[in-house]
């Protein structure tokens, strides 16, 4: 029986090539898109999952803003962990990290710059269940000056030698520490928000730098540490959170401690001072919606086409019925055909996925793959596909098997008005989905170009930030002098327009920016609960990055206030309630135990972090410390070759003065743009999947019209014989589709308006949802549909009516 079904199904599919192609291809694209998106979502949802991770929470700070507490920094104090552990029995253990974006190591003559590492408490391996390959869990981080290397970092340093008990030098603010390798840990998976490549024992901090002992004292002053706690598995985390908030361990009315599951950090947390840029649950939700829309779209296509096609098969069904077929047998046969078709589509879709995966990884920037291991996570999706497959096959099957045999044999099957309504509904739904996706694409694209074209209050084109690590034991003042020499040498290069020194710059990460509170204003009020952000630069900085002064000017190099000067921005004035420049200009403010910071200027607001974050209240200090050397290049360095030769010359000047060092540079504008990277790839994904959805819908429409045109062939012939012109026939055939698109369009507007508004909430600066966005999407959908439909209807309209009437 099954063999018979199979044989007939295969013959049918190969005979009706257009039908089979549209169906199989449409389904395959639908399933492939679904799988691709789900792979991405699955990846995003798999962050920070390891054995026991469900009991690990991150401690973070809430800050008082007005009357309510809002999530503040992701970093906590060095007292936070120990206090929570001693006050709450539910907290079994804690680990603190002091994070290094990168660190310079020296081994013999070789100098390495290694990104991502931390000072960590010895409890690390009890809390993070990542394998330790060499060394003993209890001992590796217990002694000062111990270091645990990741497998690949160990490989890089020592090749295949056993690294245990070997020593390497690490540098921090020029201070060398000789560290002993006590362990090797497995590389941390990519799906981790905090990917340490080395861990240095926490106790090392105490004696490493001059300020180490002070920093090491337990205090509630500097929240520079990430703290993770391990809860007793029986703990109700929500109750504990409430207890932690209420107990106010720090006894500070302006801020409170809070906790969040480590597993939620990647998708739900976007606080200042995150370790790395996190994902976004909104994006995940949007992509998931797109995935389901496309899949359902391809099923609707399938249902619509098979229903239309089933009328052609009415005669066959009639014959089978009078030959003794039971209704159930006909249903099973029809289902069998649809499952066969779906299976072919699934296989094709897997092939498609395998082909486009490398390209897709390029767009998303993730290393996704089809692993057997991830199959269990895919089981619900697989079941969903299976369910949809059967559901999509069932409707045509039921319809087909319900035809009365006499009518079927006479070929008099007409769709009932109810059936027609269902099919119209399906088409409207398809258009609805298409228009919603179109609107989404337009809004995302518009928002990204809005962000990119927005004035940011500063000019960072052709500016590079030079930052190398100098391995030396020279004193700070000597080093500063050497930098001065370098600055003078670089200024002599013909392509260097300007040079300035800065700790941070527009587009830089949060790490070089401090947040602080408790500023003493010139009028004598101390603002305890108002946050401000601060970094330090040297006088030429403002000119180089073209930040405009509203009042006053940059620091005076030779003044008495040298080292105690600041520049503030508009937002700072606004937040502190200062209405005129006179209230603050050339007056002093106080913070950090120093009351003589002289305000030399007020700058116009600029965006330090791009337009995703709001404008920050800034206090920019004058300090002589050297961090980044910013260089503005002239037009001659704009070309690739010009740039390469410029960089070579800069590098040779650098190595002349600092022979033992690493050399690094970044383009400021590229770094600034990089914060939109995730949004851009989201936009790209949105565009690609929208195109695919349109393709599916258009293919379905094409298939559908090819049958309706056949059905109405006689009608068209009669009308033409009676004098209808080609345009009149075209209008007749196309006006239904225009009507349906109109209905879909009207439903699509509120849905997409609501959805895109949600998405835009993620941005501090948003483009408007203008009326033309909707109009453009509607007109595009209409044009696409009309083009698809007219292809067929035109052929029908120009056909000679004699042909169509003869065979009756």
């Amino acid at each position: 029986m099954l063999r018979n079904y199979l044989k007939i199904a295969l013959r049918y599919l190969s005979k009706n090539k257009l039908y089979s192609f549209i169906n199989i291809f449409g389904l395959a694209i639908g399933i492939a898109s679904f799988v691709l998106i789900m792979l991405y979502i699955n990846y995003e949802q798999s962050y920070d999952k390891f054995k026991g991770s469900e009991n690990i929470y991150r401690v973070y700070m809430d800050y008082l803003e007005g009357d309510t507490f809002v999530p503040g920094d992701a970093m906590t104090y060095n007292l936070s962990g120990p206090t929570l552990k001693s006050e709450f029995p539910e907290v079994l253990d804690y680990v603190r990290f002091f994070y290094f974006e990168k660190m310079t190591f020296q081994l013999g003559d070789r100098i390495f710059e290694q990104p991502l590492g931390s000072l960590a408490d010895p409890s690390y391996f009890d809390i993070f269940n990542y394998p330790l390959l060499k060394g003993e869990k209890e001992k590796v981080l217990s002694q000062p000056y111990s270091i645990v290397l990741s497998k690949s970092f160990a490989q890089k340093l020592f090749g295949n030698e056993n690294p245990l008990q070997k020593t390497i030098s690490a540098f921090r603010d020029g201070e060398e520490a000789v560290l002993t390798v006590t362990g090797v840990m497995a590389d941390i998976p990519k799906t981790t928000h905090y990917r340490n490549t080395f861990l240095i024992s926490y106790e090392t901090e105490k004696t490493w730098t001059d300020w180490g002992p002070k920093a090491h004292e337990l205090n509630w002053n500097a929240n520079n540490y990430y703290t993770f706690i391990k809860l007793d598995p029986i703990t109700n985390a929500d109750v504990l959170r409430q207890k932690i908030i209420e107990s106010d361990i720090e006894e500070d009315t302006e801020e409170q401690h809070n906790i969040e599951p480590i597993e939620d950090i990647h998708l739900y947390s976007n606080k200042p001072y995150e370790v790395s840029a996190n994902g976004s649950i909104t994006r995940v939700k949007f992509l998931m919606a797109i995935a389901f829309i496309i899949l359902i779209l391809s099923w609707l296509n399938y249902v619509n086409l098979s229903v239309t096609k089933s009328m052609e098969r009415a005669k066959e069904t009639g014959i089978r019925k009078v030959s003794g077929a039971q209704k159930s047998q006909l249903i099973i046969q029809s289902l069998f055909e649809s499952i066969l078709l779906n299976l072919v589509a699934i296989m094709l879709s897997l092939l498609l996925v395998a082909i486009v995966l490398p390209l897709y990884n390029g767009i998303t920037g993730k290393g996704l793959n089809l692993q057997l291991g991830s199959l269990s996570a895919f089981l619900p999706y697989f079941l969903f596909i299976l369910f949809g497959m059967v559901a999509a096959g069932l409707y045509p099957a039921l319809l087909l098997s319900s035809y009365s045999p006499i009518k079927a044999l006479k070929g008099k099957i007409q769709t009932s008005s109810q059936g027609l309504a269902i099919r119209k509904g399906l088409i409207v739904t398809q258009f609805l989905a298409t228009i919603v996706l179109l609107i989404g694409t337009i809004v995302v694209t518009k928002q990204i170009s809005f962000l990119e074209s927005q004035p940011i209050g500063t000019d960072i084109n052709q500016v590079i930030a030079l930052k190398g690590e100098v391995v030396t034991t020279k004193s700070d003042s000597l080093l500063i002098n050497e930098y001065k020499v370098l600055e003078e040498e670089l200024k002599k290069l013909p392509f260097v327009e300007k040079i300035a020194i800065a700790q941070s710059y527009p587009g830089d990460s949060f790490d070089n920016l401090s947040s602080s509170r408790g500023i003493l204003l010139p009028n004598g009020t101390k603002e305890d609960d108002k946050l401000f952000y601060t970094y330090h630069v040297q006088p030429d900085y403002f000119d180089l990055v073209d930040i405009e002064f509203l009042a006053g000017g940059t620091f005076l190099p030779s003044s008495n206030f040298d080292g105690k000067q600041v520049v503030v921005n508009e937002t700072f004035l606004k937040n502190m309630g200062i209405s005129s420049y006179d209230e603050i200009l050339n007056k002093t403010v106080g913070f950090w135990g120093e009351n003589e910071w002289r305000v030399t200027g007020v700058i116009k607001d600029y965006y330090h972090f791009g337009l995703k974050s709001p404008l920050l209240p800034m206090v920019i200090r004058y300090e002589r410390d050297v961090n980044n050397i910013l260089i503005k290049l002239d037009a001659s360095a704009a070309s690739v070759t010009g740039f390469e030769s410029s960089i070579t010359q800069i590098k040779s000047e650098w190595t002349k003065i600092f022979p033992k060092s690493t050399f690094n540079y970044t383009f400021l504008d590229q770094k600034f743009e990089a914060q939109y990277q995730e949004d851009k790839s989201f936009g790209a994904a949105f565009q690609v999947f929208t195109l695919l959805a349109i393709l599916i819908a258009a293919m379905g429409l094409f298939g559908l019209t090819s049958y309706t045109v056949v059905q109405r062939k006689k009608e068209i012939g009669i009308r033409k014989v009676n004098g209808a012109t080609i345009p009149q026939v075209l209008t007749l055939l196309n006006k239904d589709f225009v009507k349906w698109i109109g209905v879909a369009f009207i439903i699509a507007i509120p849905i997409s308006w609501f959805a895109m508004n949600q998405w835009l909430q993620g941005f501090a600066y948003r483009t408007a949802l203008s009326w033309w966005v909707f109009a453009l999407a509607g007109i595009s959908a209409l044009l696409i549909a009309l083009l698809t439909v007219s292809w067929q209807s035109f052929n029908a309209a120009v056909a000679n009516p004699v042909e169509s009437l003869r065979d009756e």
Binding site: M1, I8, R320, K321
Partner: protein
Amino acid sequence: MLLQLRNIFKWVQQGGQRIFLLKDINLEVQEGEFISIMGPSGSGKSTLLNVIGMLDTFDEGEYDFLSESVHTLKEKYRSNLYKEYIGFVFQSYHLLDDLTVEENLEMPLLYKKIKSSERKALVADMLDRFNIVGKKDLFPTQLSGGQQQLVGVARALIGKPKLILADEPTGNLNSQQSEEIMQLFKKLNEEEGVTIIQVTHSEKNAEYGSRIINLLDGRKI
């Protein structure tokens, strides 16, 4: 007695008026009869045949088939009844274009859940009897009309029905092909005792039967 129709009426409503398709039909058919139904177009021949074949319902009257009262049966039992005992032959053959001759013959057996080996034997037997072994792998479109109808008759017979209903079986055939099909019917009726009811326009074909029923405007005359 194979079947009996008593006072059968069938009508459709058109503009508030009843149009009678069948009017007070009484008919008894014994096993082994060969009946021809004749009458002009629209006289209700095909409707009567469909009612007998239980493909169509009627509005009034009683119908017994093998002592089951069809008019009291539910749709499902009714269709089981015709599926078991009645074979249909159509004017336009109604073979499945996607299936070969052999597969077309096998099709009804599939629905009766007959084992594969037995199906093969029955099909081979039928091909042999109708002398179409050489054509078994051809598709219907590759056959002449007469040959297609031969396959149609063979398919109707393969389920060993008690009754064959043929609706103008030779309507699409030339005179020679018609002759052959009618000879075949006659042979089946005489040698194998198959009961046959056919609808026909042709006096000549009607003569093959043992009894002729004439209809006019839904009424027996």
